[in-house]
Symmetry: C2
Subunit: 551 residues, 2 copies
């Protein structure tokens, strides 16, 4: 008898903590899937709670909410098999989080794939490989499962896996040996540059090694510093990509399994590198606003490239009518900065204001004068300008219920070339994980069809304009030198000597690495922003502030 199965991959944007909304989506989709003659509906990892729910998982009240949602899903799974990710209580515990430990019984959850059909919960698979590195803290909440699980639908044996499981050849092999015809992998796999290619390479390797097709459904959406890129896909036993969903938006793709052969109804294109990164940032911004309940943004538009790119992203994420760019000139602001800022705001059609900081800065200088007597002018006066801008932007945002976007990039965040409570003031740091050299590339990408960022903004030498004739290169090596140094130190954990050996100037390398080490206190108070590299600041890089490490 021919084995046939229709599978739908449901690429959802699930909101963290919103059990009701996530449940409703699932129930609506179940109804639609039944009408469409779908046999198996597959939703992402922890789609009921959103990912990552973090310490919400420690709240005992989660248990009731979860149980309610699961009961409703069981009721609704009628005529369609539903595979969906949700936490699973191993045993209720009042002691969760106390000064005890795993073996004494703190961790009481599995990260499970629940299978519902014929109006019942028929099976749970427990994630076996729990990531506890980079941004992941799954061992904080979950215990690992220890066995493969197969579920048979219409004679087809589905091997069940969750995210990290599929990155481990031995785990996949064990599931295949348990008799799977086809692997279903549910995921909450966050974006970073090049991650998609790695993901495909890993899954293709598993498909080829085991001679089985694999269906991979991913979450989509921004959640604090994470962006889930979607791009769910199916891969044949021969390692060919046979279907792919859209990137960066909710989507679903239908697959047909027929006697060992997997095919799909659609193959969406994958964006190239710049577009991919740009769209990740746009989604990061849009969802941060959506999910925290904001719609309007303010940002300081300086005439420099970071704020120019941030503005372009903000307008794409929120719409021009929701973005207000404010140019806040001072003595050191070049006339071309004003012109270029005005020009870009005009091209994008967003609101634009000019608000000089002259009078407030002078008033501060005057108030501080008795204390500053005998002290030379230094970066304090520069920070002061930056902080006056921060205060103005925050006041505008507070008064109108808007959120301030910060505009600093990863190179600045790394070396602390930013002012706490000044340009760092704001709710979301759009370019926090984008190196300055990538900022240039993305700005060129923004201008690919139409001049949105004035050419001069891209070509003029970068300057914070906080002192007369100041240029970034007064304090920092050129960015094409700086960024590789920083990337090797921050992302690849190379030592300064190893970096110098690659041909970089000793003085620059030592000074920059030292700046990274002593700027942790700034990063610790910075706004969250979308992680887009293999190691972002934030949850991904946990360094002590009080740190006497000497390289």
């Amino acid at each position: 008898m021919k084995k046939n199965l229709r599978i739908r991959l449901l690429q959802l944007n699930a909101a963290v903590g919103d059990f009701d909304a996530n449940l409703k989506t699932m129930i609506d989709e179940l109804r639609e899937a039944k009408l469409d003659g779908i046999d198996v509906l597959v939703a992402p990892e922890l789609a009921i709670s959103g990912y990552p729910p973090e310490d919400l998982l420690l709240r005992p009240a989660l248990c009731g909410k979860l149980q309610h949602a699961l009961n409703c899903l069981a009721d609704a799974a009628d005529g369609v098999t539903l595979c969906v990710g949700a936490p699973e209580y191993i045993e209720k515990s009042e002691k969760y989080g106390r000064a005890e430990n795993e073996s004494a019984g703190v961790t009481k959850l599995w990260n499970s794939l629940w299978v519902f059909e014929a109006r019942a919960h028929v099976l749970s698979y427990h994630k076996q490989v729990l990531p506890n590195y980079q941004v992941f803290d799954e061992r904080r909440y979950f215990l690992p499962g220890d066995s493969a699980q197969i579920h048979e639908v219409k004679g087809v044996k589905l091997g069940l896996l969750i995210c990290e499981d599929v990155w481990v050849p031995e785990i996949v092999e064990r599931t295949c040996l348990a008799g799977a015809d086809l692997l279903l992998v549910i995921n909450a796999s966050p974006f970073s540059e090049h991650k998609y290619d790695e993901r495909i390479a890993e899954v293709r390797d598993r498909a080829l090694k085991n001679g089985l097709p694999i269906a991979y459904v991913n979450l989509v959406g921004g959640q604090d510093e994470l962006v889930f890129d979607g791009g769910s896909f199916a891969i044949s036993a021969q390692g060919d990509l046979v279907a792919r969903a859209r990137f960066f938006s909710p989507d679903k793709i239908d697959l047909e399994y027929s006697d060992g052969c997997l095919s799909g109804d659609r193959f969406e294109p994958a964006p190239l590198a710049d577009e991919l990164l740009y769209k990740a940032l746009v989604l990061g911004v849009r969802d941060y606003f959506n999910k925290t309940g904001f719609s309007k943004a303010f940002l300081g538009l300086s005439g420099g490239i970071d704020s120019a790119l941030t503005l372009a992203i903000a307008v794409d994420a929120l719409g021009a009518k929701n973005v207000h760019a404010v140019m806040m000139p001072f003595l050191y602001t070049a006339e071309i900065s004003l012109e270029d800022a005005r020009e870009q705001a005009k091209v994008l059609g967003c609101e634009f204001s000019i608000l000089s900081i002259d009078s407030v800065v002078h008033e501060f200088i005057e108030a501080l004068d008795p204390f500053f007597l005998g002290h030379a002018v230094d970066s304090t006066e520069e920070n002061l300008q930056s902080r006056c801008r921060g205060v103005l932007l925050m006041a505008l945002a507070n008064k109108t219920g808007a959120l301030v976007l910060t505009t600093g990039n990863k190179s600045e965040m790394a070396v602390g070339y930013a002012t706490l409570y000044g340009d760092m003031a704001g709710g979301f740091a759009v370019l926090k994980d984008v190196w300055k050299t990538r900022v240039y590339e993305l700005s060129r990408y923004v201008n690919r069809d139409k001049k949105i960022i004035p050419e001069r903004v891209i070509t003029r030498p970068p300057s914070a304009e906080l002192a007369p004739d100041q240029q970034d290169s007064d304090s920092l090596p050129p960015y094409d030198q700086l960024d590789p140094i920083l990337s090797m130190y921050v992302e690849d954990d190379l030592t300064p000597s190893e970096i110098i050996a690659k041909g970089f100037t000793e003085g620059d390398v030592l000074r920059m690495c030292r700046l990274v080490d002593i700027s942790e206190h700034k990063r610790r108070q910075s706004a969250v922003g979308p992680r887009t590299t293999s190691r972002g600041f934030g949850r991904d890089r946990r360094y002590p502030i009080a740190n006497r490490w000497k390289f």
Copy 2:
């Protein structure tokens, strides 16, 4: 033959990342121990790297530093057996931290107790229970050991354990069954209120159940948001405390093991609750400054109780000559606030300045006037005052190479009753984990012998003085209601209904819990501060900012 052993517990303040200094201390102590006829010198968990080294553990360069230190220790351990905590490489790996997983070989360290004697490394014990909850992330770095270890010195069998191990009865029992005469436990156990009592109760239970004496050495010192309280101790097989080191300072105690009986040379008193908490805060401040290289502090002294207590702590931590209190009055500042601030600074002998924010606030209001037209006065204007103070304090600190202390308490941090970049501006948040009701109790403690905080500061109704006749009770329930509500919600994970059922007003409870949930973005950008409760904000409570949890 009589079995006799002289053991020294070395309660160290090890600096994170400072391998050279930590090594030097250990070598000096080894020399001294030998002169004193000590048989076994016992130092805390990860005493070579400091605790917690966090992602420094992921740097490949750690390997060389560590190996050097261990070689030196082996050389130095001549005539004395040294038991000391340090990481141990299971296998060198270039791939550490990549998108892979434990079973695929990422985690390559043990958290080990190294034994050196006769100029050689003779044994390592690998910590079996790795805490990965609250502030702990040990699973991020370490793999658990899986067996008990005994080391025999002069015929006495020492059972080796590390910190969390001793909290698990089965683990302790296994070590005892392996033939231990005496248990040595090396620790990096951070302070929180009541933690010392829990610690003693656990260890006493292990001693009694297994009929063995236990020597427990703890780290001491502040490290970012952690304070290690020291208080190392020894407990007899009968469950009696037979020796105790000082709290909150480096110390050592000598123990004599003689045929099953453990005795000590000293028994230091344990401070009572208020003194204990106060000293923890003092050490937290002192070490944050020491270990980040600062000596001078600025803080805003408002005439309110939070800044008054913060000032007292700062002066005890840093010395009066290193603390500069600044009163920054505005229209709404009461005359008594000025008087009381001046009075306290005088009593403590620290520098005191008055710096009005009138002119800067008015200049901002004027600059913003065109934008604020048609908008009612709201909290924006209050935030503005607070931010002007933040800018002034930061300018003073930047200019003089000092650090700003923030003065907000845990109740405010919980409900977001604080201004980002305003009163939240600063490097260290002294009272971040101290509930307002505890702030009152600690202020009374400060005044126990001498009136340091003016009585009126303690007795007047609390006010932020950001609007005419403002009182905290306009926006918040009285603190004796608020604090239990918040503590139950934040620390105990109770639901609002459960809190209401305990007799609190429904409206207050719902409103306050909601405020906690929507203030995560503020806490995420707050300065670090010493954790003193069972659940502090910071690494201890990891909540999503974008969070649609409804209780």
